[in-house]
Amino acid sequence: MPENGRGPGAAAGPRAPESFEAFARASQKRLYRTAYLLCGDADTARDLTQTTLAKMFQHWRRASAADHVEAYARTVLTRTYLAERRRRLRDLLAHSRPGPGPSPDHADLRVTLLSALAGLPPRARAMVVLRYWEDQSVESVATLLKCSESTVKSQCSRSLVKLRAQLGEAHVYATGS
């Protein structure tokens, strides 16, 4: 496993309450990266991160009293993302027809990944990001998304098969060239 320098698992340990600004400054980069994998573009990720931090500020007394403030923030981020996706889907259905997604045969690894992730339903995408980027256990993801552990396992398994089908070819292409 390559070291990514952000250590989400390591950062999720218990911590003493601190000022909101100290927490936010220490966490914003990690949240931003996770948000990027959830939404797929930098601008939306920035908005999502800012909204997450704003919600943390709004409920800071409660949030800072949590055993794992980072886990609390991750939960806020994921649920905000899912709520936003539901809202956007309603808007999309009401006002426009969806256009074509990004080209799946793009050689760039980043675009390939984002394209593959975009092919997953929002909840499945959130499960993948939480499990394989944030290193969260099946139990944690199930708690966060308010579903059963078996649902997390089966969704992640199906998602991995889909992602592998797209990423595997790109990976061979990228490393072979």
Partner: protein, 290 residues
């Protein structure tokens, strides 16, 4: 990640993780999101308060309506004064946005910092700075950027533009001490414009008739100017100035006329009045240079 995971699934998970590493590595860095998040968070809190207040008002209204209209109520023929529909200022008021102060370390032992003030006085000055920053942001041209307090002194602020330009802003209300008012400033523009050495001056008056003169002057470097207005107010000397960004080699993006408009604004004068009545700066011990 690999808790009880079949081997081929584990391999897929590692592949996905590898792609994720690549994707975030190419992610452009985001600027500091914390100040904006704090402002957004305060607004969210305020909206919740307003919603709660509205719900309470609706509930009270429903009870009053029920007692008047429903059978058994005492509304039969009784005329009651209408409930006031004027919203309470407390519930309808949006909180002022919070401007995260810019931290500047004192550059010498003789330079006082707000951090050294007694807690109550420091809090008062910080509150004043917040009010001033928000108002200056509204009154100064957009080109000055977002106005934030500087935590070194109550009179220091700075404007930051989206392009990264930083303009020093001064809002000072300083007790004039024993300096005679007539010798404090040039309240009128000089008769000889040449004395301004390429700068300019614009004359104006405050609502109470006080004369003021706003200057746009060269800042040492050619074609780089700062803009300043000073005037006597009560027992104080007030000054508002915007300075250039030396790093960006950009002049203060404010004209003398725009600065005059700011100091004539009633809300600005309210701030000056408060600072005059409740001084936050040390008394002058000599005549300020013009």
């Amino acid at each position: 990640m690999g808790d009880n995971m079949p081997e081929d699934e584990h391999g897929s998970a590692l592949l996905v993780r590898e792609f994720m590493e690549h994707a975030v590595a190419e992610l452009p860095p985001a600027h500091d999101l914390v100040p904006a998040a704090v402002v957004q968070g305060r607004r969210r809190r305020a909206r919740v308060r307003v919603a709660v207040a509205a719900a309470v008002a609706c509930a009270v209204g429903a009870v009053v309506f029920g007692s008047v209209v429903l059978p058994g109520g005492d509304g039969g023929g009784t005329v009651r004064p209408a409930a006031s529909t004027t919203p309470s200022p407390r519930t309808s008021e949006e909180p002022a946005p919070y401007r995260t102060p810019v931290h500047v370390e004192p550059t010498s032992d003789t330079e006082d910092a707000m951090a050294d003030l007694p807690p109550a006085e420091r809090e008062r000055q910080e509150e004043f700075q917040q009010r001033a920053a928000v108002l200056l942001d509204e009154l100064l041209p957009d080109e000055v950027g977002l106005i934030r307090p500087v935590d070194l002194a109550v009179w220091r602020y700075q404007g930051e533009t989206a392009d990264g330009e930083v303009f020093g802003v001064v809002l000072s209300v300083r007790p004039s001490g024993s300096v005679p008012r007539s010798t404090r400033h040039g309240d009128t523009c000089p008769e000889d414009p040449g004395s301004l050495r390429g700068g300019s001056c614009e004359q104006g008056t405050l609502p109470d008739g006080t004369k003021v003169a706003a200057y746009r002057l060269l800042d040492g470097a050619p074609d780089r100017t700062y803009t300043r207005v000073r005037f006597a107010y009560g027992h104080s000397d007030a000054e508002l100035a915007v300075y250039p960004d030396p790093d960006a080699k950009a002049s203060a993006p404010v004209t003398a006329g725009q600065l005059l408009a700011v100091v004539r604004d009633r809300r600005f004068l309210d701030l000056v009045r408060y600072a005059d009545a409740n001084p936050m700066e040390k008394k002058q011990i000599s005549v300020m240079g013009g």
